[in-house]
Amino acid sequence: MKQIHLAAHFPGVNNTTVWSDPEAGSHIEFSSFTHLARTAERAKFDFFFLAEGLRLREHAGKIYDLDVVGRPDTFTVLAALAAVTDRLGLTGTINSTFNEPYEVARQFASLDHLSEGRAGWNVVTSWDAFTGENFRRGGYLPEEQRYQRAKLFLQTAFELFDSWGADDIAADKASGVFLRNARAGAFEHHDAQFDIAGRFNVPRGPQGRPVILQAGDSDEGREFAAATADAIFTRHGTLEAGQKFYADVKRRLPAYGREPHQLLVLPAATFVLGDTDAEAEELANVVRYQQVSGQTAIKFLEQVWNRDLSGYDPEGPLPEVEPAVGAEAVAKGRAQTRMYRDPVATVRQWRELAEAKNLSIRDLVVEVSGRQTFVGSPETVAEAINTYVQEDASDGFILVPHVTPGGLDPFADKVVPLLQERGVFRADYSGTTLREHLGIDR
């Protein structure tokens, strides 16, 4: 039987997070991060995952204010979490567009040392000038170059990680030899994006390199992950869709001389638990409407219609006006808008859906943006997760609780023991590094 991999995502700034819940805590105080990380470690999860944003999202020229806004710096939180956990992997998103490989490589190598081998890097790319306005180089990258830069960025970082051998430090007091290899850290790298040379000044970390994660739905993203990543994550659909995705990415591996176990498929997933399946369904429905308020629903439609719809009643029918195609985007700084590249077609589909099911604006948004993947009693959820893994729709899941920071607690207390009873999830950590937890080579 396949062993399941589980990770915990500290929820970010999207509408998954129900900040209005009475149980909701801070999204910025360190105690919240500690709580989620300790719960994940108590449950023997593989890793903690933190997303990143580099510019606050805007809507119609103003900062978007209906979801959680604000988050901490990825590296800094992960390093601090290394102080309050012992085994849990610590992974975070770091952008390859608005950073330099030398600096990022030394931060990850440092994090790997400071966590004693638990660092992981979700490599993302960006293209938009909107985010670029926060950085000294300004500007941005033409979209067609973003994967090229990401590839070269990662390649360069790997060269820097590999510029030190594991045994380069002797630290022998008696002979006075600190460095066994006088050329430790020497590098030279010239390509279309980076033209750098010198000495990398962080010795090799316990894992050699951090674990590499990539989010990839596009063909390019999947190929990039197949070539370089240790784990790929994506949004999660049906069992069949999952199996198709799984087979597709694993099929790409041999071209890079890699075997199927070398790239784990870990979709992001939400969950709602109840004592019974019926209770969980009821609760999930409440959560969906907490995630999508009337105001949120209108703003969501405005992203696709690309025009002001504030006059519409969220409890009423969909707007009869057509989307404004080609105008400057109403929503900025959102990856989500890229999902609707053909707004006219999207609107047509949504109208058909709303008509068929008699949905109001808010109902429709709940329907198309709802993210409750696993809903049911602990037994039902454990069974579903195990089925996805055993039937090759995934190798595990990155769980996104909808309440911060306590949302993972019931999963840890009720679902994890059932997975352990089935023998498909570890009862305790057997290794100390993230690579060991994931079963991937150093």
Binding site: W19, S20, I28, E29, F30, G53, L56, I63, D65, L66, V69, G70, R71, P72, D73, T76, V77, A79, A80, A82, A83, V84, F98, N99, E100, E103, Q107, A109, S110, L111, H113, L114, S115, E116, E133, N134, F135, R136, R137, W164, I169, A171, K173, G176, F178, L179, R180, N181, A182, A184, G185, F194, I196, A197, G198, R199, F200, N201, V202, P203
Partner: protein, 369 residues
């Protein structure tokens, strides 16, 4: 009362320090090493530690010195949750880094330490460091580097203020998580870069974490006066301490002025001299700061003379770790306490509080955009 800080660097500031019997050169890249040092400094009630950093490394082919270092901000973040009182001023390099990234990193350090974060800003003028980034031509004249660093701090500080303290409202009635009128674009445009803002990280607990600069020359004194809360100076004697202190205070009266001293401390002056001589035989040591060898009582005499000459505090650079750090916390500190010149318990919960700095008002508060 004097303020006391220690500057942590590898196995100590002497290049042969790693060969001392109590040195732990095989643990320099392990978190426990750094935690032990900072906990010792906290045991001695010190105001803060600084952590050295550099984006470069010597390319001289030597194998007899400590080589390699970890990112200083991450060391500080790794250790901060294990401590309760002491402040952290990791080094950040203004020349090659993004102020947007560092602003949120130091703000986050302030969150994970609940109000004890800060930053020591450094310029990297070497062509070797620049080659690690490959973005521009070096050398760049010092006045330009100083101006760039000043702009860098200005951006970092504006970003810290780009959220008002009460911007998060969680107003369920209107569905608004924040009051966006309390978030501000910083719209910085300078000679070297421009940054839009606002920060992605809310205003840190201290509002403005303290910023420090080490200065040897007038251009950097001016940078300190423009940008810092604290300046580290390197006087060689009491007269110079007085003159330097007056010079920078002439540029800005309320700047905290610290004297940097490298220390080798033992129970007798002879023992300290012998120990340093033994280290000097293994490796040559030169320093920008005064190198003090002697007893904690002698050092206390010297520091109090410099205090009377106008310095607010001292950043001591232990010649060898952990020896000279313990000599500070267990020798110098009690000596200063007996003379009524140093705290007997922590009197504040934030670094600004320890330094006697008020929590500053937000520069954007009340402004509508």
């Amino acid at each position: 009362m004097v303020h006391l800080a220690v500057a942590l660097e590898g196995a100590g500031w002497h290049p042969a320090a790693w060969r001392e019997p109590d040195a732990r050169p095989d643990e320099l890249f392990r978190p426990r090493y750094w935690a032990d040092l900072v906990l010792e400094a906290e045991h001695g009630l010190l105001d803060f530690v600084t952590i050295e950093d550099s984006l470069g490394a010597p390319r001289d082919g030597r194998t007899d010195r400590v080589d390699g270092r970890l990112d200083a901000v991450l060391i500080a973040a790794r250790v901060a949750p294990l401590t309760r009182h002491i402040g952290f001023l990791p080094t950040a390099i203004a020349t090659h880094t993004e102020p947007f990234h560092l602003s949120k990193a130091i703000a986050t350090l302030d969150y994970v330490s609940t109000g004890r974060g800060g930053v020591r800003v450094r310029i990297a003028s070497s062509a070797d460091d620049a080659a690690h980034f490959g973005r521009r031509e070096f050398p760049v004249p010092l006045p330009d580097l100083a101006e760039e660093a000043g702009d860098w701090v200005e951006v970092v500080r504006r970003l810290w203020d780009s959220w008002e303290d009460d911007a998060e409202i969680r107003d369920t009635a209107t569905g608004r998580f924040i009051d966006r009128d309390k978030l501000h674009y910083i719209d910085f445009t300078g000679r070297f870069f421009s940054v839009k803002g606002p920060s992605i990280t809310p205003r840190p607990p201290q509002g403005q974490p303290p910023v420090a600069v080490l200065s040897h020359v007038t251009e950097i004194h001016r940078l300190a006066a423009r940008s810092a809360d604290l300046v580290f100076l390197t006087p060689q004697d009491t007269d110079e301490a007085r003159a330097l202190g007056q010079e920078v205070r002439g540029l800005r009266a309320d700047l905290l002025v610290f004297g940097d001293v490298v220390v080798f401390l033992d129970e007798t002056e002879q023992a300290a001299r012998d120990r340093k001589a033994r280290l000097d035989d293994l490796a040559e040591f030169t320093s920008d700061a005064l190198v003090f060898t002697g007893t904690p009582a002698q050092l206390a005499d010297q520091l109090l003379a410099w205090r009377d000459a106008g310095l607010s505090g001292f950043r001591l650079r232990p010649g060898a770790l952990p020896h000279d750090l313990s000599a500070i916390t267990r020798g110098l500190v009690p000596e200063l306490q007996q003379r009524g010149a140093f705290r007997r318990e922590y009197e504040a919960t934030t670094l600004r509080g320890l330094l006697g700095l008020e929590r500053p008002a937000n520069r954007y508060a009340g402004a509508t955009r």
